[in-house]
């Protein structure tokens, strides 16, 4: 039971909000946290957090997989930037998308199959939700934001898709994300004073009216539109919840600190240095938002599936290089592609460092996170959907064992999505369609 419910605080405040703003002086309720700030005083752990971190165009087979299975003791050269964090990650190799004779649309089929568990039939779309939205529906209903999506290259698209093909758009500007999270509607959980705003209650009346007017519509609508209308209603409810939270004194969170508004943001683009700058700003903001209890689900897209990353002054983008660049006979790989992959992995290391660097008592934010790192292709040169790289990062509050290399010989990649859902407490026993259907959790990594 949360603090507000225990104290019936909202009821109290509602009664006080007849007129002008009132200041409710609150003692700093440190007693509700344990002395380390790693859990609430009643022993409840700080909540587990889920994030996805997506990049396009895969990795080069033979250059990323660790040689040995089991305990993670070595890394392929392309994963080298992750070396400092070997104890905090799992590397999952050999997983593939089973096509069952359905077409492999380059960069699309793999993406949909990895995130929804189903390969779309020819000419069809899947109306299934991506894993992150299933998890967000499970754990994201008590926070201001059910989830937060960002793109580091300026695309408003995201990999986060709700049932019925409804895509959560990405934020492309760190400054805009800052305002959304830490702008005027933010309530500092550690503020000594709490000033509820009577205008918030006026906004609640408005939303209540918006919902009421949907009743007639819901009764006269067809099946496909019904899903869309219900999604709209869910979005109205999400804003209602934000307003509810604005009227409550939030639980104190020791590790919550309000960042400065980001500066140095570059006009979003897929140019590599710009991508790094904006990625860094985004992950820092997301770390702060998570530590401040604003959301429990974050979706970070470094690039799109068809990676448009480019090097300043160079005419050819990452994706084009994967297809056109010859394999250097001496090196045994495509040097330009390797350069882009190096940048992707450096960014990933930056992400891990940021989440791990935010300390909550003697632990880190990363310790209560599960980050699912995914891509849509195996060997991008030939648009392969075999051996699609996957990694997990973070211990998920002890639910995930890290520091392992799980090696399979062509298991469906849905095993990863299933495992991630189970780790996050989604009651699901099997997941995926046709040959991708699986009930085999990767038990080695589940604690």
């Amino acid at each position: 039971m949360n603090l507000a419910a225990r104290l019936g605080r909202r009821r109290v405040l509602r009664g006080m909000l007849g007129g002008a703003a009132v200041t409710v002086g609150m003692p700093f309720l440190d007693c509700f946290l344990d002395t380390n700030g790693t859990a609430l005083a009643d022993g409840t752990q700080l909540p587990t957090i889920f994030a996805t971190w997506f990049f396009g165009c895969g990795l080069n087979p033979g250059r990323w997989e660790p040689k040995t299975a089991g305990k993670l003791v070595d890394l392929g050269p392309e994963l080298e930037p992750l070396r400092p964090y070997m104890s905090k990650v799992n590397v999952l190799s050999g997983f593939k998308v089973h096509l069952d004779g359905k077409p492999a649309l380059p960069h699309i089929t793999g993406r949909i199959a990895v995130s929804t568990g189903v390969v779309p039939a020819a000419g069809q779309k899947t109306a299934l939700p991506s894993v992150d939205t299933i998890i967000a529906d499970q754990i994201g209903n008590k926070t201001r934001f059910r989830s937060i999506e960002v793109s580091c290259i300026g695309s408003r698209n995201s990999e986060s898709v709700r049932a019925g093909n409804i895509m959560n758009p990405s934020e492309v500007s760190p400054a805009a994300l800052y305002t959304r999270i830490f702008g005027p509607d933010f309530r500092d959980p550690n503020a000594a004073d709490f000033v509820p705003d009577p205008k918030v209650m006026a906004r609640q009346s408005v939303l209540s009216g918006v919902k009421d007017q949907l009743t007639d519509l819901q009764q006269m609508i067809g099946a496909a539109d019904k899903v869309r209308l219900e999604e709209y209603l869910t979005s109205v409810r999400q804003l209602e919840q934000q307003l509810d939270l604005e009227l409550q004194k939030p639980e104190p969170l020791k590790a919550c600190s309000i960042p400065q508004k980001p500066t140095g943001e570059l006009t979003p683009s897929a140019e590599v240095d710009t991508m790094h700058t904006n990625h860094k700003l985004f992950v820092q903001l997301i770390a702060n938002a998570l530590a401040c209890g604003q959301t429990r689900v974050a979706n970070i897209a470094l690039t799109e599936g068809l990676s448009t990353l480019r090097r300043s002054g160079n005419a050819v983008i990452h994706h084009t290089h994967t297809h056109e660049e010859p394999v250097d006979p001496k090196l045994g790989y495509q040097p330009n592609v390797a350069w882009f992959v190096g940048n992707v992995m450096t960014a990933m290391a930056e992400m891990i460092a940021t989440f791990d660097g935010l300390k909550e008592g003697d632990r880190s934010l990363l310790d209560r996170m599960l980050v699912w790192v995914s891509t849509e292709t195996g060997y991008a040169k030939v648009h392969s959907t075999d051996n699609i790289p996957a990694l997990t990062v973070g211990g998920a509050n002890g639910r995930v064992r890290t520091g392992q290399h799980i090696q399979t010989a062509g298991d469906p990649i849905t095993r990863v999505g299933l495992t991630v859902q189970q780790a996050m407490g989604v009651p699901v026993n099997s997941w995926g369609g046709d040959s991708m259907s699986t009930s085999r959790t990767i038990t080695e990594i589940l604690a």
Partner: protein, 561 residues
């Protein structure tokens, strides 16, 4: 002073819209069935707010991105919903608009009455305002219950905050973020002589007509026509269609259609490598779209020209910025340095027609270089409505476009090598030969004669017709029978917000296509024949089968729509 005058003029117009609608009764409406729900696009949202409240109302905030399906945002609009983050944005925007409408500057002209006290609720005044504004925003009269609910919100908030206008603003905010406003909701009843279809009601017809021709909500005469059942007769419908076709607002409708068909929303986020192409900027990208839209509006509406001439016309419109890109000197009056200038390409110019403009060649390119394949694909798909198959998996692209390879200096040489692979040949031979004709235009749209020191050969062929350069390609597109069939198909799809069925494609080409040809491919005639047709207002009756699980019907329905 000028600013004040402008404000008064615009606000007066808005007041006129709001004021005269007070006569409308807020009668209950009992629609039989909701058959369509299209989210209004960003442009439509802007246009409606400007139409209803005047251009002085500023729109802050961002929109949830529109989505493209089957080549059109108009089709995507029938499939999207509003996500949580999207709703936050609509809420921000609605509150900002409402606050401006009821502020001290605007309220005297926007609100048709004054409350008995500015500190207390006044249901009569609130009702007057909300019913008139609601009728325009919801594109039909509010039901009695809707109006009562809105007045109650205004009253509750006015009481709580001791501010009549805050209450009114809250009710308006609710309307602006309601599903009734954000989605074009179409209601229908069974058609008398046609068991397989439903017939849209008058207000839904009015919306279809208005969004097609003006890209905005119906105006008061159209709503009144709907209210009086005029749109149910072909005479009444034709009267309204002709009135709207004669209005200068038709330009907004034509612009919206072509922006959608030509994929201009993709310009958002279009970047060119600033090191390689320092001249290209967001401003040039905006000017490039405007260049093409001006060319289209001038030829099709002002000159009543032939649609096919868009691909061969030597007339265009330029700014000095575009002139610098195209290396054409553009002189403007001293006091208007950014003015648009009408320009005729000389007979021997390399450019002619909209496919040689930056809005086409720069949009369909990579950030650092041109792409004959992407351009060829766009020509087929966007202008001829021909689907190019997706590339297969397991293709080896080695050596194909390595621009450093001394043997393959130009894109033509590199693509010829690529096409030698049998798995690639099938599709590339329908894209590359036409895309290569535009190789004289680099990724920004600037003209070039050479690539990597080798001369560019822009010759090619399309569907058996050979040509020697971009102008020849334009002529071939002009003469290709698929060109006019495509715009008919696209316009009908755009108008109905869904892909046409096979039967519809046949009948539209027969009915609309023939009339279009007879008119000399006059766009206005095509718009009129669609706007006044039965097909435009017909809705297939959804089949509900008890033996198929609801979820799979849902997926099928999604596909069908």
């Amino acid at each position: 002073m000028a600013k004040t005058l402008a404000l008064v003029t615009v606000v007066s117009l808005a007041a006129c819209i709001l004021g005269s609608s007070q006569a409308a009764e807020t009668t209950g409406l009992a629609p039989q069935r909701l058959v369509g729900m299209r989210r209004i696009t960003q442009d439509q949202y802007r246009q409606i707010i400007a139409d209803v409240f005047g251009k002085t109302i500023k729109l802050g905030g961002r929109f949830e991105p529109d989505q493209r399906d089957a080549g059109l945002l108009a089709v995507g609009a029938s499939q999207v919903s509003v996500t949580a983050s999207g709703f936050e944005q609509y809420d921000d925007m609605a509150r900002s608009i409402a606050a401006q409408v009821v502020d001290e500057q605007h309220r005297p002209v926007m609100i048709p009455c004054a409350p008995a006290s500015a500190q207390r609720p006044d249901d009569a005044c609130a009702g007057k305002f909300l019913s008139s504004v609601g009728r325009v925003l919801y594109r039909r009269p509010l039901t009695q219950r809707e109006l009562a609910d809105e007045v109650k919100i205004a009253s509750d908030v006015s009481s709580r905050l001791h501010d009549f206008y805050a209450g009114l603003g809250s009710a308006l905010t609710g309307m602006l973020e309601s599903a009734q406003f954000l989605f074009r909701q179409e209601t229908a009843r069974p058609a008398a002589a046609d068991a397989a279809h439903l017939q849209l009601d008058g207000y839904s017809k009015a919306s279809r007509l208005s969004f097609l021709l003006w890209n905005s909500a119906p105006d008061l005469p159209l709503l009144e026509a709907a209210e009086h059942g005029e749109l149910d007769s072909s005479d009444g419908l034709a009267r309204q269609a002709d009135r709207m076709l004669a209005s200068p607002r038709l330009e907004a409708g034509v612009r919206a259609f072509f922006s959608d068909m030509l994929g201009f929303s993709t310009f958002e986020g279009l970047a060119k490598d600033p090191v390689l192409y320092p001249k290209f900027s967001a401003r040039i990208a905006a000017d490039a779209q405007e260049q093409t839209l001006r060319t289209i509006v001038d030829l099709l509406l002002h000159q009543h020209g032939d649609y096919r001439d868009l691909f061969t016309t030597r007339t265009t419109f330029l700014t000095p910025l575009l002139g610098a890109l195209y290396k054409i000197p553009v002189t403007t009056p001293d006091d208007l340095p950014d003015a648009w200038v009408r320009y005729e390409y000389p007979e021997n110019a390399e450019q002619a027609g909209i496919i040689s403009e930056a809005s086409f060649v720069a949009l369909h390119s990579q950030p650092g270089r041109s792409s004959p394949t992407v351009r060829g694909k766009a020509l087929r798909e966007v202008l001829l409505c021909q689907k190019v198959p997706d590339p297969p998996g397991n293709v080896n692209f080695a050596l194909v476009q390595d621009t450093n390879n001394p043997d393959f200096k130009t894109a033509r040489q590199r693509l010829t090598a690529h096409r030698s692979a049998p798995t690639c040949a099938g599709c590339h031979k329908i894209m590359d030969p036409i895309g290569l004709a535009l190789e004289n235009f680099d990724t920004t749209g600037a003209f070039r004669a050479m690539e990597n020191g080798a001369p560019i050969d822009p010759s090619g062929e399309i569907d058996g017709i050979k040509f020697s350069d971009a102008k020849g390609l334009g002529k071939a597109i002009h003469d290709n029978p698929a060109t006019t069939g495509c715009v008919v198909n696209r316009l009908f799809t755009y108008a109905t917000g869904r892909t046409a069925t096979k039967e519809e494609i046949g009948s539209m080409q027969r009915d609309f296509g023939q009339a279009f040809a007879k008119s000399g491919y006059d766009m206005k005639a095509l718009l009129r024949s669609i706007a006044t047709s039965n097909e435009f207002y017909r809705v297939a009756k959804p089949e509900i089968r008890a033996d198929i699980p609801a979820a799979s019907q849902l997926a099928q329905e999604g596909e069908r729509r």
